[in-house]
Symmetry: C2
Subunit: 363 residues, 2 copies
């Protein structure tokens, strides 16, 4: 057997380092897919370092770098701008990582690192326009207040975006109608619809317009599609399409295997993509051997997941249920994905084992 | 090497079943110890089955069994009673399980399955008094709306309490001043100060007074201190004393190892016990070889954790930091605990590795 590439493990259980991350961060419990807007505390959460303790009274957002007029804003200044609110789906770029083999060593996500909130705040573009980026500006760097060491580099979490992609950004100070919770970026975060979650910089405090591409850790080293020999390739950007099902029946406590009685059941779930609206969701009840179209709910918004439902007459026996999404750009979820060294963007179709049996009291 | 007892694994990484539980449930990020009242979404969470979808408009709490006058209450009825509010610390009985060797197979907690909320609702005792328990009543059974299969037994989650212990119970409809979040028991849960979390039955819908000890799964099979050969022993009841530190410095992303610069730093944390007030917290900076007393903050309340602080002049080098609690009943956290088959009540002293070095930009 060949050795697993550096930074990955083959055929082994989750390490204590991974478990420590899994205990801090958390996914969406799949039954919470019933909510179009994820209630607070159920939205997935990935925190690179520690949640910083930010005093909103002295907080400032600074906009500078290659601009004509640097801008400094308090929270009240931001709240004084036009308030934009929209339901937006976030997904972690590492969602699905722990299902890869060999397994990249990082936060060990299964499939549920997702959530949809109503984010509200001030549009980024008018503020950038006020600052007046130089004619040779190429990117915008977003710097946060959480600090740690990653890849041996002490750093504030920061990520850049091409200046054209920054145009769609929102400077959010509200989540689901209230102030941001500490763990979701209080008092201010960037929200960029359609991009993976690492783009939505929490605890945002500085925006810097730059005239050369940013070479910070989270753009140059992190969040790249790597080949197995450790060469960083294309950056991770928009969310690949994915659908998840709210598993039917009831769970077995430890295995989470689903148990249900034979007969009609309506399967439901939600699907999303960062490349365009969801146009098709299909459901398989035979472990991906065949798929049939689900019925789509009305859209919740252009940047939010789309609900779906599928009538199934569950026969007794063991089954594997799956759903798969196709977006308007023609991207469809694959049954298997090409492996990558850091475990990003694994949108392989889900597999939910269910046991259908005439057992007492399962409903 | 001897085989590990059934239901445990020796020397192996976390299994995918355990990881699936760890992705749903979550611990308190340790930096959130800075908050005396844990903000929503950061409080630890352990859900046995699925979060049920409860309609508050039709919800009823039924009190029956061996009583003279069965009682049926709506949420408004409960809100019409005197409102009792108190900060109360919860801890999962399985906290520390994943640090045992061999490791019991269940939710793989490290040390942080804890949180403190302000719970508010109606006192249980006056409602029990109205129902009028029979003279031969011995226990009260609390039945919830979440359903699953555990130990091959389909069940609604339910737990009993000796009738004398039920007297301290609160029927909570508010957490931190708002309605209960779905994952914390909306619309109603039991809260029993001082007991491990499994006692605080979420999605509570029925209270049954019984004249024989309850033999349901969660009392007779689950939540017992087992010997290695699988014989259920004493029930798990009150929280053993424990102290946790908010780790100083900044984390390395993957290992969570702490990095800080040499010099004075104030270590802080919180300690609690279900057996009485915290009377002493001691801190070790040499991996438990020696301890010195910390300064205690003012108590937050009789059933809430107690803050503490400790001045440390951090010398360069690698250190392991620990804190240890002693309660008014004379219980002190041990450095090592006796092993038990289900991994309950592991309150061994924490161990936090830190690296103190003159590195650039760690503060």
């Amino acid at each position: 057997m060949e050795a697993a590439p550096a930074g990955t493990v083959a055929g082994q259980g989750i390490t204590q380092d991974e478990l420590r991350l899994a205990a801090r961060n958390h996914a969406l419990p799949l039954e919470a897919l019933r909510h179009p807007i994820t209630p607070p505390g159920l939205h997935y959460l990935l925190i690179h370092y520690d949640i910083p303790d930010v005093d909103p009274a002295t907080f400032r957002l600074e906009i500078g770098g290659a601009v004509e007029r640097p801008v400094s804003l308090s929270l009240d200044d931001l709240r004084g701008r036009e308030r934009i609110a929209e339901p937006i789906t976030f997904e972690c770029a590492g969602n699905g990582r722990a299902l890869l083999e060999p397994r990249p060593l990082s936060q060990p996500w299964l499939t549920e690192a997702v959530g949809t909130a109503e984010w509200a705040g001030a549009a980024l573009q008018p503020l950038l326009d006020e600052a007046g980026p130089s004619a040779s500006a190429v990117e915008v760097v977003f710097t946060a207040l959480d600090r740690g060491v990653e890849g041996d580099v002490p750093q504030w979490y920061e990520r850049s975006l091409p200046i054209a992609d920054a145009a769609g950004g929102l400077l959010a100070y509200e989540m689901n109608g209230g102030p941001l919770p500490p763990q979701h970026g209080f008092p201010l975060r960037l929200v960029v619809p359609g991009w993976y979650g690492m783009t939505n910089v929490k605890w945002l405090t500085r925006i810097t317009v730059v005239e050369e591409p940013f070479t910070g850790f989270q753009n140059a080293v992190g969040y790249r599609m790597y080949s197995p020999d450790g060469v960083p390739g294309e950056p991770v950007t928009r969310m690949a399409p994915r659908s998840l099902m709210a598993p039917p029946g009831v769970p077995e406590f430890f295995t989470r295997e689903r148990r249900l009685e034979p007969g009609p059941v309506t399967l439901t779930g939600r699907a999303w993509s960062g490349h365009g609206p969801i146009e098709l969701v299909e459901v398989s009840t035979d472990d991906g051997a065949s798929f049939a179209p689900a019925q789509l709910d009305e859209p919740l918004g252009p940047h939010a997941w789309r609900g779906w439902r599928f009538a199934w007459d569950a026969p007794a026996g063991e089954h594997v249920l799956s759903s798969r999404a196709t977006d308007a750009a023609g991207n469809t979820q694959p049954l298997d994905v090409p492996w990558n060294l850091k475990g990003y963007s694994n949108n392989a179709v889900e597999r939910i084992p269910v046991r259908v049996a005439n057992e007492a009291d399962l409903s």
